[in-house]
Structures are given as structure tokens and as C-alpha cells.
Symmetry: C2
Subunit: 119 residues, 2 copies
Amino acid sequence: MNALLLVAHGSRRERSNDEIRELTERLRKANRDFDVVDCAFLELAEPSIPDGLRQLIANGASRVVVMPYFLSAGRHVVDDIPGDIEIVAREYPDIEIHQAPYLGAATEIIELLLKQAVT
Amino acid sequence: MNALLLVAHGSRRERSNDEIRELTERLRKANRDFDVVDCAFLELAEPSIPDGLRQLIANGASRVVVMPYFLSAGRHVVDDIPGDIEIVAREYPDIEIHQAPYLGAATEIIELLLKQAVT
């Protein structure tokens, strides 16, 4: 079973966390490549990244793509998310966990910004 | 003269601010709707949003689109950026300053995430 875990920073403002949950719901409906789509948070909201991964694995995921919903390649993307993945990768050596490029790395961001700017 | 001001949060990590400046350079090259494209930061980096706007106006901009490079509609997008715009709008009542929807509001984010997830 192939799973996608969208990872966001997490906020003290619950409305922002709910925005991520709604986005996850839209991803779930739009996607054709993953059997399961879920979300997790680096901090300040639940589930944590390790708990999100463990839940997907408990539900039968054999491969998980972790997608950082971040705009910059800061410490969170470079150190913290890989660190969280590593914790679970050691617990489940047979599960393939792969970190996708963070959103801000997408070259299409340029077009998208320019499109938003003229709406 | 029609200007675009990309507004990012700003970071203590200068590399992240430079990422925004590089993105602005790419926007400048790719864009066909704006005569000038520049960036500004809400905090922690220069120029500030008011200073970025004032610079564009000093250089001849008569209309500025402010594009929030943010993923969630938090306090920054809802209060802080409009507040900064308002300061400059009062100084220059003849200049049209318009805040575009923040990046995370783009419906195309869904496709983009799914595309990034399978690369």
C-alpha cells in the first residue's frame, strides 16, 4: 500500500491546522497515485510526523512519501523532517519512507505566483 | 508603471532570504504583466514592506500588486501585510496598491503537490 503524508509546520492557531487538514482532504480526492493520503505536523499540532508515519504503517502502508508543505529549505526541511523519518525508519526497516522535494522547490511556483498576481 | 512586490516572512537564516531574492529574479525574468518585480519582508530581513513599496513608488510605480508568499491565511496575511500596505497607501493616496491572494490560496497547489510527490 502506497501512502502520502503531507507534513506542515503546525500552528498555535487551530484554524491554520484545519486548513492543512482540509488541503489533505482535497489531495485525497484529487490523487490517483496513492492509496492513502494523510497529514502530520512538525510541532504544535497532532499527529506528529513519527505518529503519522506509524499510523500509516499500522494501516498497511508499505511505502510512504513524505511531502514537506514548506516554502523554504530551512532547518525544518533539511534536518527536522529527515530526523523524524529516521526514527520511524529504524523501527520499521522493511518500510520504504521517502522524502519528496518541499513545495517551494517546485519550478511551477513561478507560474503559479504570476497567475495569482493578476487575478 | 505596474509593479509586483513579492512579500515573504523573512528569516534569521540569510540563506532563506536569499532564496526569496533568487525567486524574485526568476519571477522578473518569467513575467510579462509587470514592469518591475521586487521583494520585501514582513520581518527579520530588508527591505520592510513599507520600504519596498516606497522604493517602487519612488521608481515610478503607479500600481503595485503585493503578493504574499505564504501558505496559510494566518495573522500575517490577514492583519500584518494589510497594515503595512495601509501605512504607505496613506502616504501616497494616488497610488493603487492591491494585495493578491496568498500563494496557499491557489487551487493549483493540489496538482503541484501531487506532481512533486511522485517525482
